[in-house]
């Protein structure tokens, strides 16, 4: 035969289709946002709440700076009311991926026995979450805080920018937001101001679970269904093991209420007194994805915190909560 062999006649190309799936586009956008933060702020921090969105956010941060380490610390604002499984997961996870973890608590109010039943949900949140967060940001001098909030979660979040300016009191002014064009983020702030950055703004709950599945991202085990002893209250399942935290101990009414054993899981993770479980048999990720796809209720349905008024989230955000 003349000339080179047949394989060199056609320079076969593993033809790149140049199409990027929806999730990969979201991932790329989120990486871009995190790099902007790292490049343009003096002292950024990533707020780590131990939940599924935080887990995704951390993975994307790893991707954004690979092969280097994540160039900012993680900070967990702890109310002391989180599930034991969350604390165990948090410490193991942060050790495994070798990041700096800061834990901040509003010790003063925790010592005073701040509790949603005593103070009301709004006040309790205001002290243990918003207050603690603002104090911690101040104490460390963080000028940018990356959070895992998504616009799809709640109607006031739908209106928020990716880079959300906060005044020196951490307050959000929804009527005075900077226009955000293309991917050109205005990161300039005045003395004392800070920015909350939401790299997962365009993700939905469904996307988060798909990504966790594809990327094999570890999450807190109580997201999965298990037979648990619970009390049913206003359609929300409260695990018996948490009752002492849900109720004031002197008000325990467990003898009046029926203890049932129900297969259930936690759809979103908050503080024990304000977070119920939902009936579910989803014991693996695929089950959860199917459940979310068929979900009839939004993922914050089991959160007591959002239900107090039509604009409760908006109010909290204005005060400095996410």
């Amino acid at each position: 035969m003349r000339g080179p062999g047949p394989t060199s006649v056609v320079r076969s190309a593993e033809m790149p289709s140049y199409s990027l799936s929806y999730l990969k586009q979201l991932e790329s956008e989120s990486m871009y946002i995190m790099r902007e933060v790292a490049a343009e702020f003096k002292n950024p921090v990533m707020l780590y709440s131990v939940g599924k969105d935080s887990s995704v956010m951390v993975r994307i941060a790893q991707k954004a700076f690979h092969p280097a380490k994540i160039p900012f610390p993680l900070m967990h604002v702890d109310t002391g009311f989180k599930f034991p499984e969350m604390y165990a997961f948090r410490d193991g996870f942060c050790r495994d991926i070798d990041v700096t973890l800061i834990v901040e608590r509003n010790e003063e109010w925790i010592a005073k026995g701040c509790h949603p039943l005593k103070m009301g949900v709004d006040k309790c949140c205001s002290y243990l979450k918003t207050g603690a967060l603002l104090e911690a940001l101040n104490k460390h001098g963080f000028d940018a805080a990356i959070g895992g909030a998504r616009r799809e979660e709640e109607k006031s979040r739908a209106k928020e920018r990716v880079f959300s300016l906060r005044d020196r009191f951490g307050q959000w002014d929804p009527k005075n937001q900077r226009p955000e064009l293309w991917d050109l983020y205005n990161t300039r702030i005045n003395e004392g101001e800070s920015v909350r950055v939401f790299p997962l703004s365009n993700w939905t709950e469904q996307d988060i679970w798909q990504y966790i599945k594809i990327e094999k991202i570890p999450i807190v085990p109580i997201y999965f269904a298990l037979e648990r002893e619970v009390i049913r209250r206003q359609g929300i399942l409260i695990p018996v093991s948490s009752c002492s935290l849900v109720e004031d101990s002197n008000q325990l009414k467990t003898d009046e209420e029926k203890i049932e054993t129900v297969s259930c899981r936690f759809r979103s993770l908050g503080c024990i007194p304000c977070t119920g479980a939902i009936p579910s048999r989803a014991s693996v990720i695929d089950d959860i994805i199917g459940e979310v796809r068929a979900a009839k209720k939004s993922e914050r349905e089991n959160r007591v915190i959002d239900l107090t008024s039509d604009s409760s989230m908006e109010q909290k955000k204005k005060e400095g909560y996410f």
Partner: protein, 637 residues
């Protein structure tokens, strides 16, 4: 379809107050089952409290307390829904006069714009303003939804009048693709389901259009631009440049130049957390490492040596002013463009555009929501392309350094010194005008898959591109004969044949060539859907035209085959004596002589007819088709 494999469409919606935009989006969310029971219950409760008979779907969207009180929309909101085919991100923007800045913001990332017109009110000044912004921001696709058709008795006359009035206006704008759909968001006509109330309307529903509009071809995959975001330096032995590929593609070994230093090197590797890539493309976020230690940092840009952006500190741009405090030529602003931030000022105001009449007038300043053309002088050069060609390197924002507010959005037109006044109102091209606005898409009677099953092979399109005389037809004829003899369903579309009939009205100007290829692509598509292996031989010198044809077919079924042959060999072969005529000027615009040929950057196959025999090449192409699952093995006799 797994969620991860779906495509993504970002679209923006706008309309005047009470055009029913919130109801329309509410309807889309409701009918795609994107509303949760607890959310629905909440608005049901509110509707009742307000004394409404029906559930007001618009309430889903009014996010902020101030808006609910006033019943208006005051800011851009983002909504999400999905269908089995696509994921959608809606940037929902209010259409009030005073909120132009929000529409510009929402439009900046949109692939498609939906503009609402109230059928009762007809075309308002604001509807025109919205169309103008669509053309300004070069949103590739635009839908005009004529809403509240139920309130005009579903009248065809009303609809037609609005369509022709709006079309007369939009013809003056630079809008590439516009469709009109009569809907009733309240009743659901033509939103998701085809309306029985408007049998005279033969087009698609809104959702069908949104699900099917082709957007990946709108990306610029030609001009590689990589603004450096962040330098990754975990240890002394690794120095990588993190960034997002704004446009184009890049792979290891390719020669690059860093701007502004002009230092050259080559890409060593494309690093990601998931492993190194052989090629990165827009809009991937990656880390590049280079072969040489050259000094580059954030704000610099890596590009290919033979494809450079413009580099200048003086340029002209269209500015949309977004701040209460008017633009002042005496003020210094901070200009953010890609990842580069420089000081800049407005050195000249060329004209202000009256958004309602599109007239240009003189001005010494721009107030909030005003738009016009200016010249910018920056403290140091930026690296840009005209916005029209590349949104990623053509857009910028201006920031007031005192308040830190984002005060303006800019769209670069070009370097100010060399750019003559661009004649405004570049009309929609002829293809657009020839388009039949009421053509019905009803799907194929017998699906291609069924035909393929019967044929025993997959349908595919083999697109042979190369100079005249490079051997395209010879290869194509032999290849088709072999396929035919092996029992395959095939068809050969030859450039010369097509020009005798279908394209007999076209010449050889760049524009006519583009139209020629467009028609050929559409014909190939018909044969493809008939289950055939379609072999096409067209010089098709322009990459953009070939990319269009590619966009018509599913991935894996279109094979761009670069028939490579030294131009001198082609000239010597000159089968029809054309080169001879071209060289003496008898034929104008002849590829290779007086008209350029853009070589394919990423063809599926390259065959070199000056090095290999026809039989070898055909054999290799057959193996390629076999490898890619189009055909079973065929042996050459």
């Amino acid at each position: 379809m797994e969620s991860a494999e779906k495509s993504l469409l970002r679209f923006t919606t706008t309309g005047s107050v009470d055009d029913g935009k919130s109801t329309l989006i509410g309807r889309l969310l409701y009918e795609t089952k994107s509303i949760y029971v607890d959310q629905y219950e909440a608005i049901k409760k509110t509707s009742k409290r307000k004394g409404l008979k029906d559930v007001d779907l618009a309430l889903l969207l009014d996010g902020l307390a101030a808006e609910r009180e006033q019943g208006i929309t005051i800011d851009v909101a983002h909504r999400y829904f999905e269908t089995p085919r696509r994921k959608f991100i809606i940037a929902d923007t209010p259409g009030h006069v005073q909120y132009t800045r929000n529409m510009v913001t929402g439009a900046s990332t949109a692939d498609c714009a939906v503009i609402l017109i109230d059928a009762r009110n007809g075309v308002l000044t604001q509807s025109k303003r919205h169309g103008f912004i669509v053309s300004l921001l070069q949103i590739p696709h635009m839908i005009v939804a004529v809403n509240k058709m139920d309130l005009v008795d579903y009248s065809k006359e009303v609809y037609d009048r609005i369509v022709s009035e709006y079309q007369a206006f939009s013809d003056k704008l630079d809008i590439h693709d516009i469709v009109f759909i009569p809907v009733s968001a309240l009743k659901g006509d033509n939103v998701v389901e085809k309306s029985a109330n408007m049998p005279w309307y033969e087009g698609t529903t809104l959702l069908h259009y949104l699900e099917n509009v082709h957007v990946s071809a709108d990306r610029n995959l030609v001009d590689f631009r990589f603004p450096i975001q962040y330098v990754v330096r975990p240890h002394l032995d690794f120095r990588g440049f993190a960034g997002k590929v704004v446009s184009g593609t890049i792979g290891p070994g390719e020669e690059i130049v860093a701007l502004p230093s002009g230092k050259t090197s080559a890409v060593r590797s494309v690093v990601t957390y998931d492993g190194e890539l052989q090629e990165a493309f827009a809009p991937q976020s990656v880390v590049l490492t280079l072969r040489d230690e050259i000094d580059v940092s954030r704000g610099d840009m890596i590009v290919r040596r033979n494809n450079l952006p413009q580099v200048s500190s003086r340029f002209e741009a269209i500015i949309c002013w977004m701040d209460e405090k008017p633009l002042s030529m005496a003020d210094t602003y901070v200009l953010k463009h890609t990842t580069r931030t420089v000081k800049a000022f407005v050195s000249r105001i060329i004209y202000k555009i009256d958004v309602d009449t599109l007239h240009r007038g003189q001005a010494s300043s721009f107030g909030l929501n005003e738009i016009g053309r200016v010249e910018i002088a920056a403290a140091s050069p930026i690296f840009f392309d005209p916005y029209k060609l590349n949104h990623g390197t053509g857009g910028f924002i201006l920031i007031d350094p005192l308040t830190n507010q984002t005060v303006g959005a800019g769209l670069i037109r070009g370097v100010s010194k060399t750019l003559e006044e661009v004649i405004e109102g570049e009309k929609k091209d002829e293809v657009q005008q020839r388009r039949s606005p009421h053509a019905v898409w009803s799907g194929w009677n017998i699906p291609r898959e069924v035909r393929e099953d019967r044929n025993g092979h997959q349908a595919a399109v083999l697109w042979l591109t190369g100079y005249s005389g490079s051997g395209k037809s010879t290869i194509a004829r032999r290849l088709e004969r072999v396929l035919f003899d092996a029992g395959c369903q095939s068809m050969l579309l030859d450039g010369d044949t097509v020009r005798h009939g279908l394209c007999g009205d076209l010449g050889f100007s760049a524009k006519d060539r583009t139209e020629n290829i467009r028609r050929a692509g559409e014909v190939a598509k018909l044969f493809f859907e008939a289950g055939k292996i379609v072999i096409c031989t067209f010089i098709s010198p322009f990459a953009e035209d070939r990319a269009f044809v590619r966009s018509l077919f599913p991935s894996g079924r279109f094979f761009e085959i670069f028939v490579k042959c030294d131009l001198d060999v082609c000239k010597r072969r000159d089968p029809n004596g054309l080169y001879g005529k071209a060289m003496v000027g008898e034929i104008k615009e002849f590829t290779g002589i007086s008209s350029p040929y853009e070589e394919p950057q990423h063809p599926e196959c390259v065959v070199e007819t000056d090095l290999h025999s026809v039989e070898d090449i055909v054999g290799a192409l057959l193996r390629q088709l076999e490898k890619d699952g189009i055909i079973e093995r065929i042996y050459l006799s």
